[in-house]
């Protein structure tokens, strides 16, 4: 794929996301789409993290735990300590990253289904911890989180105070989409640098990787903490948008969805989880009209999709350019 094509593709994507979508929504008046698309953007950030753990050969069904921790970290810092929301985004990511190093060191030794089971439990543990701790306010959670304030440098307002805005929907949309673009740009860079190469060596054969001198446990922990970082920032923004966070905000079902997004989009493509999240989220919504059959049809379709396209939707190459072929 030539460099110019790549640039055109990225430019078209950015134009679509930042200009075209808001324009379409303005024309059609479907303001509710902002909430949906904002959610998709945030969920796809968390899914990107899960995708990275797949990339080192681990099935991660625990991203919900880090999203929950990220949400609580941001909420507690904003509500109880008056920290600026903007600062809590990286802080939530960093705290999740550090936490995942502590958790990852022992559990990343496990492989396959054993690692998957432990991570599945993590989400439940996070929920129970949130219920039990005084600082998370138990089952009542933390509500009425103030909207993000303004950022100004040298008196120049870069980001306006969200509570002064006529519609916070557009503002949150831009915030989520910007974070998504940054996350995926970072992920793309990571995967296409030598680090990605090393991650793939881990995925394919850990024994051989260590025989060529790769410190496999170090690399595994790094990848896992980047993954959790992404889960944390997604959770932080989610808490800000819904202005609340509860122990049930991210559950086992969410963790499984993060994983499904990756499967559905394609594990071999950096942008797989983004597309997977979009399709899965909208697919579920579109099936709403089928009433009580919604879950049945949805699950059947998922099974069919995975059987027909085991390498994900992106393996169809609908786009004439190969996306992120590693």
């Amino acid at each position: 794929m030539s460099r110019s094509k790549q640039i055109i593709g990225v430019a078209a994507f950015l134009f679509g996301v930042f200009v075209l979508v808001p324009l379409m929504i303005k024309l059609t008046g479907r303001w509710d789409f902002y909430y949906t698309l904002t959610s998709v953007a945030l969920l796809s950030i968390a899914s990107a993290g899960v995708w990275l753990t797949f990339y080192i050969g681990r099935i991660n069904i625990g991203q919900g735990a880090y999203a929950l921790v990220g949400g609580y970290v941001s909420a507690i810092l904003v509500v109880k300590y008056g920290v600026s929301f903007w600062l809590t985004i990286p802080l939530a990511g960093l705290i999740c990253g550090c936490l995942s190093i502590l958790i990852g060191l022992p559990i990343l030794r496990l492989k396959g289904v054993y690692f998957a089971m432990v991570t599945l439990v993590l989400t439940e543990v996070a929920k129970l911890t949130a219920l039990a701790l005084p600082i998370t306010n138990g089952a009542k959670g933390i509500s009425s989180i103030p909207l993000p304030g303004a950022i100004s440098i040298f008196g120049l307002t870069i980001i306006p105070d969200f509570s002064q805005l006529a519609s916070t929907k557009l503002a949150f949309y831009y915030l989520a989409v910007t974070l998504m673009v940054l996350s995926y740009a970072g992920l793309y860079r990571l995967v296409h640098s030598r680090i990605g190469h090393l991650c793939r060596s881990l995925q394919q054969n850990e024994e051989l990787a260590s025989s060529i001198g790769v410190n496999i446990s170090y690399l595994r922990v790094i990848a896992y903490s980047v993954s959790s970082f992404l889960g944390g920032i997604a959770g932080a923004v989610f808490a800000a948008i819904s202005q609340s966070i509860y122990p049930s905000s991210f559950q086992v079902a969410d963790s499984i969805n993060f994983m499904l997004n990756c499967f559905l989009g394609g594990l071999g493509y950096v942008f797989g989880p983004m597309l997977g999240t979009l399709v899965l989220y909208f697919g579920w919504d579109l099936l709403f009209t089928t009433g009580k059959f919604q879950l049945l049809i949805y699950s059947s379709l998922l099974i069919a999709l995975m059987l027909a396209l085991p390498n994900g939707i992106l393996s169809l190459r609908l786009f004439n350019r190969k996306k992120a072929e590693p």
Binding site: H197, R200, N205, L208, S211, I212, G213, I216
Partner: protein, 259 residues
């Protein structure tokens, strides 16, 4: 001159079974030393003990006088003792060239963050690894299949790729795990030349092998194991005429008639 690699009374027990029992031998710099023995003699276990993929029960392995037993495998590789595997162990879903490029890890000058940011050191590393990979491909006669996916390679090429991966790490000692297994005569002779070529690059070779004719042809010295113990050590000629070795391989007369 002190030997490059010293295996000193190395013992490995699995529960009640002693797989390797107080084996001692030295490897001199620049030689090709083979470890042979009948099936179940403990060759593979010894191999894993030297490369630290297994922990010794007692005894130790020294490299340039420094203890390397109990180090993590990647640390042993960092010191310059690199093992190869039998043919199925490669990075299957990478091209042949990428297999070799990624194996240059130990030659990296840049840090992980440097690679992410694309610093000058990272860029010069990548260029250097590419050049070196091409050189290795040429050395092993793999240049025409550099772009092929490794999982599509025939067996003979897989073996060469395994050696290529080892060479990419720039080792002092290369441990080869049964490099001639399953090869016909022509392939074996080609591989013998290859291993000699590896030595000419200044790399000491320690190999574990079944194939007697190849071992006799290629080795400077041979260590023979039987039931986990060293029963002989010497030049190919000495080994060929050693009674204990003949007995181990053919069984003694008493065994043969069942007494």
């Amino acid at each position: 001159m002190s030997p490059l690699l010293q295996v000193s009374a190395v013992t490995k027990r699995f529960g009640g079974l002693t797989a390797v029992n107080a084996v001692t031998f030295d490897v001199a710099e620049g030689e090709i030393l083979s470890v042979i023995g009948p099936n179940g003699a403990g060759k593979s276990t010894l191999f894993k003990l030297i490369s630290s993929f297994l922990r010794t029960t007692s005894g130790q392995v020294l490299f340039k006088g420094e203890r390397i037993s109990d180090l993590a495998p990647h640390k042993v590789a960092q010191k310059g003792i690199v093992r190869t595997f039998q043919e199925t162990t490669i990075f299957k879903n990478m091209t042949v060239r990428d297999n070799i490029i990624v194996s240059h890890h130990l030659r990296s000058n840049a840090s992980l963050a440097g690679y992410f940011l694309g610093t000058a050191a990272a860029k010069s590393d990548e260029a250097e690894f590419g050049r070196s990979a091409d050189e290795i491909l040429g050395f092993l006669g793999l240049d025409e299949i550099g772009g092929e996916l490794a999982s599509n390679l025939p067996q003979g090429h897989l073996r060469a790729l395994g050696i290529a991966i080892g060479l990419a790490t720039n080792p002092s000692v290369l441990l080869l795990d049964e490099p001639f297994a399953g090869m016909n005569h022509d392939e074996t002779m080609r591989t013998v030349d290859l291993v000699r070529g590896v030595r000419q690059r200044g790399i000491t070779v320690l190999l574990v092998e079944h194939d007697m004719p190849a071992v006799m042809k290629i080795s400077d010295r041979i260590v023979v194991l039987n039931f986990g113990e060293k029963i002989a050590e010497g030049t190919p000629q000495q080994i060929q005429n050693n009674e204990k070795v003949i007995e181990a391989y053919l069984g003694s007369e008493d065994d043969a008639i069942g007494i």
